[in-house]
Symmetry: C2
Subunit: 690 residues, 2 copies
């Protein structure tokens, strides 16, 4: 009988019509229609390519086949796609008019047509075709025992031309395989700019053959060889991604100055008492790699010709590694302390009629523009470079917001009104550990400002930024994914695609599917929890991790000195992520219950509360053989105590003292333990106050 | 009250004396004594290095600190160890007499002395000191809230000088990060030879600047650049590991001949009918990369001078990448079919008085010896190279056994009696999916043969071999680890260390700790099961994976054609591993029960049986939305049905038909489903027959 039921249920699934709302595609396409019926996937599925595409489509199509085969276990007959029109009768036909260029404003559009026995992709360029393949692999559906694509038509193109992800490989070095798997993740959600932050106070990460001191003295041995860089640039180009390198100057200069102290701004004055009279000498400051996080004073000397000579030589060696048109020179967070204290620099300012340090920095930045132009590159910098005399050729990277005491994205509007092209990162700082909704609701196109069409066109797009002060190769993926997929959707899809419920539903599938590309955001958590639990069965620990989130903004490392670059990032806060999974479920349950206190709705809430009471006692048990669990016990104990009281309150069999409840609630709001916060606090508060 | 109990229990742990049997050290040291008391680990723990070691000890000590810190979350003050005698009062003092050389017979011994406030490592070379650090990191203990080392003294040294792991990067390409994390795993269990199988029918994996055709035509774009090879050789040397490259010749030649068909042995005779008379022409055979597994006929032509010219040029380019003394030239599985069919080669044999193909192959191999000697390298080859005229300079790699129709390790004895040095791999073929016990009980020193001391000294050691026909970067770690740690122990520790119970206990911890090095043997399984279950909660699937093992020997891919190199290896068989975890537990439970049918012992067994009945119904439920689960249902259904009958039988409330039981049992012995076998079959059989 059991089998009969299953059979009926299965055949129900098989014939059920798919609605487009059921599809877990991200970014959501510009136009999609789904009609009845499906294309059945079999091992005979093959790909044929026609037209005049770039070679990258062949390896792209081969990777597509491998992913589809790995997911379905179909054992496709076709092993490789290596040339034009190899399989004229293939079920998947891809036609590209011409080879795509890895640059802004390139045509990335595609048409995808899934019919009963045939799938057709038409695109101007192979870049569009690669996007179509990513959409197709997301469209795969299954029933009980087979896989299929829903019959549908999609026409799609990006809203913004700059859909970026920045990875900071300077604070914590990120090896080649980390970069590559994240490029795969980017391609999967149709992002097209990889901004590679390669130099900061904590290290210089580019092999320099003519200036080997930079890696010998300022990298701790952790750098990318020039061959690796070229290889990554090619890997990115094969996925339609432009690489924009960054060397952060003139501030954030500890690494450069560790190798070349002679171009630093700091002067040390020595009082030497030689016999009778005291003499003053100045000598070059020595610098060292920074191990903490924050804003530091080491700054290049803009008055020293040697500074420009060296930078020009750096560019001569680095620029040829990056065929793309843009070079990011940083330019942020220069506080000018060492400039103010250096008499020579003050004199230089006067001589050049530079009234403040901003103008001095503009002077500095302006010297770099022709150096880059020589290599056919445009200069890009963080918003601090935008001062009154800055060339309009520079691209302004807008990053400051309320956290820095200015209105969110103010510099973006200033930039476009001032005639600059600009990219938005304020609101896309994924290292701050905010939930996905915070990022998803940020749009590069400002809402309450009237802009002309010309000004609007200067908004190139946006870029998620992953600063790596508290991030290692083991945790980076969980800091980027899946949230960045939501930012990718904001930058690709129609501005009206804003439904957070749909986003969350699709993101769950996207997150799971990103693992197929080798991303470790799910796996690494399990490994971290195994270590924390000392290899004990750790369901309780997992439960706790599903309601805790790492402290947000920079509060985990407030003074920048609690964690050094070499500190352990194997802690509970490293295993936890934003958008704590059970917190979402609990919030929904509480809202339903407060809306309608039915027995069913009450049960939804009390199930959680009872689970957390048991979790606490299980954690105490686990902690007997796991020192790393000790710091978590106050959190679970507070939650367990409050849960007990809330159960009593909801039961209404016993009066619960409001003061007791409120005290327990506030303990659950503590951020004092293990660098995490309870993500269920707000819903607990609703229950307490209900 | 709960807390009081916990406190008492915790303080019991704190003061408990550690016995050496409790320590999870592997390989087990030659001498170890443990006495009462402990060295408490604090964040002030620092390392100081004295003597005249190689630089590698500094990075090694730094890595040691990072691992210990990651495991304990201690936040050590010391970030880097960069020079001699930096911290004279450090708690850990390492002294090395001299720099270690990466070669056989080097002194790898060490003394490790853990006292209450001080730890001392003394070693002749830094290689011994690195081994000591691996032992120390394994000795770390914890109680409820702190970490410590037990007071102890260890003096240790290896039994064999060749403790190798071979990785086949030819059948499936294994990227740099895969190789590196496995080198870390090797170092953790004190292995010192990485044998890198770089060329086979399925690909040539070495960048060749002077012979680019090899990578252009015979690598599918998957190869190691020369820079990457040098980088890996250095990475290995930093961990005390010698790299031995292999280019397999003259058989297994498809890749070489794809690029250079002119040195192949196969002749094609064409009959061309030109008008009246028919003429015969011979032309060069074209070759292509092999996509299947097995033994194939493409073989280099030993009669062609061009063959030797090319090989010599290959060596000229490849040898300088590998500073070590050994070069493996393969030499296995040449069946000589194409030689027999080639009249020119037959003529060559006659002319040189070579009576059979073995002698012809010896002729071939002998030509390579001076080519390698020119680069200061000794030739090593699989046992087939050992024929009567083979130079005694060659090292014989013994691999055949009962599977190949010869007594296990016969060639090893033949080799040492014939004056050859030799390395044993028969019994260490970890790709065959045997359990750890099978490998652990194999000793390179033959038991039932009398050897002289000189002959014994020719046995250099052993080597685990991981052939990659059915292995990908995602699954390789679970095919190597943790079983290879047991082989490492066989090769390092005293021959009397053979207790399988102790091995299994320690291996469980070793497996967990290997994850600390980035090995993915645990994490990858979770990712594979997520894919198979289509991202559903999959406890039942995990339960099934814990009693199933991949088919053993070559039966998973019997004809070598079911799987191609591009087939999906994301299946249930890929998630399963030898030494299925629950099978061990069930076997123990059944043995206890059959020995004493107490209620407690019966419960141990029936818990499993009931679990599997529930597992089956859960899997049926999961399968409704997961096509990849369908092929597993027959296995779980058979097991569930038998479990139901066995419960009835054990209950004795109902007579169970023996025929029914036996039929169900035999269904559980099926190897027809999903390329796995039920690892609980033997214990089920005992229950049926009891």
């Amino acid at each position: 009988m059991k089998y009969v039921i299953i059979f009926l249920f299965a055949s129900f699934i098989t014939t059920a019509q798919i609605n487009k709302e059921q599809l877990d595609v991200m970014p959501w396409p510009q136009n999609i229609t789904v009609t009845e019926g499906s294309f059945a996937l079999t091992k005979n599925f093959k790909v044929n390519i026609t037209g005049a595409p770039n070679q990258r489509i062949f390896s792209g199509a081969t990777r597509f086949l491998r992913r589809l085969d790995g997911r379905t276990g179909m054992f496709f007959y076709q092993g490789f796609v290596t040339g034009l029109n190899e399989v004229p009768d293939a079920e998947l036909q891809i036609n590209c008019v011409r080879s795509g260029k890895i640059e802004l404003y390139e045509d990335e559009s595609y048409l995808l047509d899934i019919a009963k026995n045939k799938i057709t992709i038409n695109a101007t360029t192979d870049l569009g075709a690669l996007h179509a393949l990513e959409t197709l692999v997301q469209l795969l559906q299954n029933n009980k025992d087979s896989f299929y694509f829903p019959i549908s038509k999609i026409s799609d193109f990006p809203r913004f031309t700059w859909r970026g992800l920045m990875i900071d490989g300077a604070r914590h070095f990120m090896p080649v395989d980390v970069i590559k798997r994240n490029l795969d993740g980017m391609a999967a959600v149709k992002m097209n700019v990889f901004h590679w932050h390669l130099v900061d106070d904590q290290g210089w990460r580019i092999e320099m053959k003519k200036h080997p001191k930079l890696i010998q003295m300022a990298s701790d041995g952790n750098y990318y060889t020039q061959e690796e860089i070229k290889n990554i640039v090619q890997y990115a180009a094969d996925r339609g991604i432009l690489v924009v390198p960054e060397i952060d100057m003139p501030g954030h200069g500890s690494a450069i100055l560790t190798a070349y102290p002679e171009i630093g701004s700091k002067v040390v004055t020595l009082n030497v008492n030689s016999g009778e009279k005291e003499q003053k000498f100045t000598q070059i400051q020595s610098y060292s790699l920074e191990r903490n996080s924050g804003i530091f004073s080491p700054t290049l000397d803009p008055s020293n010709p040697k500074t420009y000579q060296l930078i020009s030589e750096f560019f001569d060696e680095v620029c040829p590694l990056f065929p793309g048109k843009f070079f990011h020179i940083g330019g942020d967070e220069n506080e000018g302390k060492d400039w103010d204290a250096n008499p020579k620099i003050q004199e230089f300012k006067k001589k050049h009629n530079l009234v403040n340090n901003h103008e001095l920095q503009t002077y500095f930045t302006m010297q770099l523009i022709p150096m880059l132009k020589k290599h056919n590159k445009e200069l890009m910098g963080w918003e601090e470079i935008m001062t009154k005399n800055m060339s309009q050729d520079a691209i302004i990277h807008s990053w400051k917001g309320t956290n820095e005491g200015v209105p969110a994205g103010k510099s973006l509007v200033d930039a476009v009104k001032g005639g600059y092209k600009t990219v938005l990162s304020n609101g896309y700082y994924i290292d701050l550990m905010f939930g996905v909704e915070d990022h998803y609701t940020v749009d590069p196109m400002p809402k309450n400002v009237v802009l002309t069409e010309v000004e609007k066109a200067r908004i190139l797009g946006g870029e998620a930024t992953l600063w790596s002060e508290l991030v290692t190769p083991s945790t980076i993926d969980s800091r980027i994914w899946p949230r960045t997929a939501a930012i990718a959707e904001r930058l690709w899809s129609n501005e009206n695609i804003t439904d957070i419920v749909s986003l969350r539903k699709r993101l769950k599938t996207v997150s799971f599917r990103l693992e197929e590309l080798g991303l470790t955001h799910l796996k690494s958590k399990e490994a971290l929890l195994r270590n924390i639990s000392n290899n004990q069965k750790n369901e309780a620990l997992e439960d706790l991790s599903n309601i805790c989130e790492p402290l947000k903004k920079y509060s985990r490392n407030a003074q920048g000195t609690e964690y050094q670059t070499y500190s352990p990032f194997t802690l509970f806060a490293d295993a936890c992520t934003p958008d704590a999974f059970d917190a979402l479920g609990f919030n929904t349950a509480v809202d339903s219950y407060l809306n309608n206190k039915s027995i069913e709705n009450q049960l939804l809430v009390t199930n959680y509360l009872n689970k957390w009471i048991k979790m606490n006692s299980d954690l105490i048990q686990l902690s007997l053989n796991a020192p790393l669990i000790q710091p978590l016990l106050p959190i679970s104990k507070n939650l367990s105590s409050l849960s007990e009281q809330l159960l009593l309150k909801m039961d209404k069999k016993q009066n619960v003292d409001a003061t007791v409840l409120n005290n327990l609630l506030e303990q659950c709001n503590s951020k004092e333990h293990a660098d995490v916060e309870l993500a269920v606090y707000n819903s607990l508060k609703k229950l307490v106050q209900a």
